[in-house]
Symmetry: C2
Subunit: 82 residues, 2 copies
């Protein structure tokens, strides 16, 4: 059994509307030294695989097929034996 | 200038409905060796601080005050000089 940790972030060229809203909220609270807020997704999942290579292949397939929208998002992941 | 990388995850005792839906989608695509999907948030932000300690304090304050719902969520962060 492997545990995959995946982060999915909006490409830097894409305006992060959610991030801008949160940044505005942070500034409203008086923390004006915080900026450039970007919000992405963080996914953890278990993979039943024989070895590291198979676990990585399955994690990559999951990202490509369902988790990330590759037109707008980048993804990265790590897999570790659990 | 510091860059903070924050992950916010639903506490393990809380049912992750979004994760369950995504897991169902993954299984529908035929990847039945993937399970226990949990979805959280991944936040990146810039902090204008004098040193590591101040940057960490501001990142923690941001998590506590606006990013994380501490009743249901756990957060962790790292700060690095940019």
């Amino acid at each position: 059994m492997y545990k995959a940790t995946i982060t999915i972030t909006l490409r830097t060229s894409i305006l992060d509307v959610q991030g801008k809203a949160v940044e505005h909220g942070i500034h409203t609270l008086g923390m004006t030294n915080v900026g450039n807020v970007r919000i992405g997704k963080f996914v953890q999942l278990d993979i039943d695989a024989a070895d590291d290579a198979e676990a990585s292949r399955i994690a990559d397939e999951t990202c490509r097929k369902i988790l990330a929208n590759q037109v707008m998002e980048d993804y990265s992941f790590t897999v570790a034996k659990a």
